[in-house]
Symmetry: C2
Subunit: 119 residues, 2 copies
Amino acid sequence: MEKVNVKEKFDAISDYWNPRIVGELNGQHVKAVKIKGDFVWHLHENEDELFYVVKGVLTLEFRTKTVIVNEGEFMIVPRGVEHRPCANEEAHILLFEPASTLNTGNITNERTRSKLEKI
Amino acid sequence: MEKVNVKEKFDAISDYWNPRIVGELNGQHVKAVKIKGDFVWHLHENEDELFYVVKGVLTLEFRTKTVIVNEGEFMIVPRGVEHRPCANEEAHILLFEPASTLNTGNITNERTRSKLEKI
C-alpha cells in the first residue's frame, strides 16, 4: 500500500500509445499513457472509459463532434461510442477503466496492446 | 457526453467533507471533495478507494503508518483497511470508487453523507 506519484510514472514512459498500469481497484485499472499523433477509430462494447489530461491537450474525435480536452479536464466516453484520441503535441493521459479494456477496443491491429506492463 | 473541468467543479464547492459526484462510469463514481481538518476513522467493507490530490496535501492515517499524499499523487486504500483522511490546510481531492461507497464507511455519524449531489 504505497502512494503513486503520477509525474514519476510518466517520466518512466518513453513511447507513445502504450498504456501502463499504475493502479488497480475494484476490477478497474488506472493507466498512464503518453500520446502523440492520431490513434485508430474504435469503440469498447462493454466498457466506459475516462480520459484525464495530466499534461498537454487531448483531442477526442467522435463521429458527430470533436472535443478538445485540456490539462486538468477529463471526459468519459460511454461504451459503444466510436472515438479517436489524437494529440498534436505530446500529451500525458490517465485512463480509468475496467481491467478488461483493450486499448483499440473492437479493432485489432499493430497498435493493439493486449498485455500491459505494470510500472 | 461533455468534458469536465475539475477546477470549475471545485470552485462550485464551498463546504468541507461533502463529496459531490462529478462523473459516473462502470458502476463507479468520480467525486470531488474539499477537505480540511481531521475526518473520522473508518473502513469500507467492500470498496477499494482511490484518493487523487488535485490541490494541497492529504494526510492518510492508517493504524500502522501515516502517508503524506502531495499534489499530483494518488493513493489506493484497499477494502477493509481502516483509515483517516486529514488535511492541515484546505485540500482538493478526487475520489474514484464504486457508486455504493459511503463516505464514512462502517461508521454512521453526523459526517455521513448518504445522498450525494451531482454537480
